[in-house]
Symmetry: C2
Subunit: 313 residues, 2 copies
Amino acid sequence: MPNKITELFEIEYPIVQAGMVWASGWRLASAVSNAGGLGVLGAGSMYPEVLREHIHKCQQATTKPFGVNVPMLYPDVDKLMAIIVELGVKIVFTSAGNPKKWTSFLQDKGITVVHVVSSVKFAQKAEEAGVNAIVAEGFEAGGHNGRDETTTLTLIPAVKEKIKIPLIAAGGIATGRGILATMILGADGVQVGSRFVASQEASSHDLFKQKIIEAKEGDTHLTLKELAPVRLLKNKFYEDVQQTYAQGASIEELKNILGKGRAKRGMFEGDMEEGELEIGQVSSIINDIKPAATIVADLMSEFNLAKKETAGL
Amino acid sequence: MPNKITELFEIEYPIVQAGMVWASGWRLASAVSNAGGLGVLGAGSMYPEVLREHIHKCQQATTKPFGVNVPMLYPDVDKLMAIIVELGVKIVFTSAGNPKKWTSFLQDKGITVVHVVSSVKFAQKAEEAGVNAIVAEGFEAGGHNGRDETTTLTLIPAVKEKIKIPLIAAGGIATGRGILATMILGADGVQVGSRFVASQEASSHDLFKQKIIEAKEGDTHLTLKELAPVRLLKNKFYEDVQQTYAQGASIEELKNILGKGRAKRGMFEGDMEEGELEIGQVSSIINDIKPAATIVADLMSEFNLAKKETAGL
């Protein structure tokens, strides 16, 4: 399936697995890459030496291209970047920061740079910074998100209108129909998150995976907007946050209730009450835990079926 | 284009014009119906005798089918329904209330009943109540909306999975690509709102239409969630609401600041500062005011172009 995204990453299908904290280790990334998509390690939850180990293991587990997602707010971002360059990773996804800072540094080393945004404005800034492609992520996406609350359906055509570089749609995409729909809106490929958390290879805790497949509509919410907006599953921690809001929370109080290590506690250690459980709205239609390769194959077979059906509309 | 929706309404294209307050009078509804879509009068902003006049004029202006949208929270809903029956309107869209109350009454008179929902749960209840079709409206839609904040991209496949009756997608659809994308997700047709407010025939004030085509991303927001969630353009009234929130607003204070007649004042009388300006997120990609017939024709030509392009994906 030759298109701008498959050619940019030298992969078979235009499906990128999101580099998610506490989910996207070498097992998931290599499984997705071996299945013809682009696996991405989530460095946001890794110490530099942990990332080194995951890159090594990913290189042993696949000969196909894979990437690393680096949130630029990470305190030791320069250490991560040095390891990425040292170990010859060929694709980096940057997020949560200014794309000017690292793009040319990475590209000078022959690395393809993709920047994740949630608005047209930041898509344009990333294009100006010279990145090779954009991930545009809608309001329905899990985890950290933009302040404008623009949904994928609105965001993708708006970004497409303003940028020329390849565009990857994210947020709310967990099916082959979702891939086709966002490509019709102007995307060249997709980034899939939640669907891959509910995979056998994701490093997320089993209790979290179970919660995802049980999630129904309305079970996620975008909250903590005064700190950094984040979509998460409603649980005791979430209810505590809402109660703090009801009492007229200050930013300081919100920071206090969030504390440190909430995300690890929930998604990695399996504390379903007190942990932060980042996941997308589309978890409401994810009903099983599958091998990553099956997910990729199912996405593509539904995509192809939907494409055939479209001719008859 | 024969499908479930064109056959249900006996129309040419599966495009429903939303029956919006202060926008959807006889001029807009008849223009859309004459162009091959389904025009819908918005009774929510009409006194019963005003609705009577609009139905009369619509019947004079078109021989094609058209509908009436009736919010069931309307205080004189029985008077509206009596006029609808008396004048032989064939299609009614009900919203904001229990579909059990009016469905069989209307269907006994040969009227097709469509119910507007924003969740799977209410879609199922509407199907159980015997309605002929569902409009499922996502978070990005303008005006009143659901509490779950489910986006169109997530909502449509989730509803499709659970109901058998025809499904109309709404929220974020202003282009032919948007129509095709939501149909691929499982919709049989679409309801288009914002795009038709920015039409020559909409009864909305010209200043409001101007604001819509100037709107950029992030310029709308879903607020007043404690009363009834509503998506509106940010203006002085909106900022006053946000300030009330910042001071820890009670429901009583929110009711006071909303007051009476805010929507009319903004959308119909053209007070861009103090009025309530209900519009969808997709206004960010609406850039011109066109005749309704041109809108319908453009939607369908882009739809057909996108359908052809899909074969090459």
